[in-house]
Symmetry: C2
Subunit: 344 residues, 2 copies
């Protein structure tokens, strides 16, 4: 899922998102609640009409942003009070409030409010998990729109017993799908994969599993290998805005002078709009000249690559040759210069 | 002609330019010579291939930019020496060099090097005109590519005798078309229109006339009324980047809080991508949230409006009811709050 934090996937118009193969996008409840306001979006016909995207949308609950972006927060059993990162104003989310906001926004999939603990503090995770579970039950009760699916969020840091407890508790309550939160926030790749391995046999096989805020092309392969169905990450669009193109063998920093005369596209076999029309030399020129089109064209390529890899994995699974696909992927990927973010 | 100074119409991809009805775009020789370099663009297949635009392109000669952007300049009979506004490096344009650069770039229409004098200094205009004419003759001789059209530039400030002399001199030499330079640089609208009226009976009726660096929607109507065929201006894209939408009744400053809940498009009867998909409220949100998509969507609307007005004028002239169109245009336009830029 491309990330459209403020009701726009940065620098990419909805028609271009559709053209590059996006079937569902994510928007952030915390940001939209603060600006332009969920009630305003409801008055304007809901998020789909507001942002001109007629495909499915998922909104997160705002929990992660409250615990990572807000400038102050006080958690109690009933909810969390915080200050806006925009203007310092004080606000409060309760489980019921998070549902009301998401019902105003009107996404197709909404998510329970959770408390995001740092992944390696056992005691904090144990306490936060108790609140997250109580809040999940309250969100389930508060939900009133029959046209929205509600996902629970499995928490528990890197601790197998807490993750197991969380998955069992939430599946017993029963949700339309299950998000896995609190990963890709400082733990190792090995810990992330081990956590997914713990959850794989517990979560229902006939309902979607959504790994939140992950990841790189390699994460797609390894996440889907462990039963994940959906992911979102700002990586493709954020990298684009720093002049970095994602490829099947790693990354290209297009600011580099070695691309100044390079007539090749980012990837020779890529069919995205950017690769079929523009050279690395042109993209480097746009970056050097600080032209806005650079963000648009690199975002289009990076998103196309991620979505295309996801499509390939889906086809490989359905056709029974996913293991061969995975081996081939790693063979190419390991030719890349290793970066801390991608190393397993 | 949308302006693509650095081989990109700011924030608008070529496919979107095509969709909004652009048939020809302009690029700036001065900027492309400095970065990424005309020889590099030639090696990469020329400007059309480089920027992924397969329609016609016009490049100016760089004269106007040397006289407005460069940080130092010394003019002599043979050419002009100047410093780059990017890195302060010293460069020199002669008429022959301006043609070589434009032949490297490979636009469909190229333009003679001229000296741009301030419009109201008679003595300076007289001297600059002599150089501009000598340079035009040298450009005509230097031109070697049979697949490019060469336009002369009529100069002479706001002085009817100098303009008359310039138009006569250049038409006698003979060019593929005639640009009118040195307007919209400080003179009044009345002086600009009067200058066009002086030139109208002198310039050939069977060759294109290009009014450089002009203008507003009202300028399109009044320029075409005085025999102009082509114009370019950064106004639509520059206004877009400041959050301003052009309309048939003036302008909308979409930063204004009164648009926060406005579900209407910029213009109810506009068929551009922006107006058919997004509300003023959404556009204001994008501007407030500093989202890049704002530049793209406002540029698309502003360019669509300008090009659509040009198309309407063309149809009105061909069908014999231009005078009625012009009156109706002014009736709407005069409802707008007057701004110094648009007042006649």
């Amino acid at each position: 899922m491309p990330v459209g934090t403020q009701a726009t996937v940065k620098a990419v118009a909805p028609r271009d998102l559709h053209d590059l193969g996006a079937s569902i996008i994510l928007a952030n409840t915390y940001h939209l609640y603060l600006r332009p306001g969920d009630e305003r979006i409801a008055r304007l016909g809901g998020l789909h009409a507001f942002m001109g995207w007629n495909g499915p949308i998922l909104t997160d609950s705002g929990g992660f942003q409250v615990f990572s972006l807000a400038t102050m927060r006080r958690v109690d059993e009933d909810g969390v009070t915080f200050r806006s990162h925009i203007d310092g104003s004080e606000h409060r989310f309760t489980p019921e409030k998070a549902i009301i906001i998401q019902e105003h926004l009107g996404a197709d999939i909404i998510v329970c409010l959770d408390e995001c603990a740092s992944p390696s503090d056992y005691e904090y995770n144990r306490q936060a998990l108790a609140r997250t579970h109580a809040w999940a039950a309250r969100c389930r009760t508060a939900k009133s729109r029959p046209d929205q699916a509600l996902f629970g969020i499995v928490q528990g840091g890197v601790f197998p017993d807490l993750r197991t407890e969380s998955a069992r508790f939430l599946t017993e309550l029963g949700f339309d799908g299950y998000a896995v939160g609190g990963l890709s926030v400082g733990e190792t790749k090995a810990e992330m994969y081990a956590t997914l391995d713990v959850l794989d046999p517990i979560l229902p096989t006939d309902q979607p599993r959504y790994l939140m805020g992950v990841g790189t092309p390699a994460d797609l392969v390894e996440g889907f290998a462990r039963g994940v169905d959906m992911m979102d990450c700002v990586l493709p669009t954020r990298m684009a805005r720093t002049g970095t193109a994602l490829t099947r063998t790693g990354r290209l920093n297009l600011r580099n002078a070695r691309f100044a005369d390079d007539p090749a596209p980012i990837e020779a076999d890529c069919h995205c709009y950017t690769c079929t029309h523009f050279s690395r030399a042109y993209l480097r020129h746009l970056i050097q000249a600080r032209e806005l089109l650079a963000h648009q064209l690199l975002s289009i390529h990076n998103l196309y690559l991620m979505i295309h890899i996801a499509h390939e994995i889906r086809a490989a699974i359905l056709q029974g040759w996913f293991q061969a696909y995975r081996e081939r992927f790693w063979e190419l990927w390991n030719r890349a210069v290793p970066s801390p973010m991608d190393a397993a």
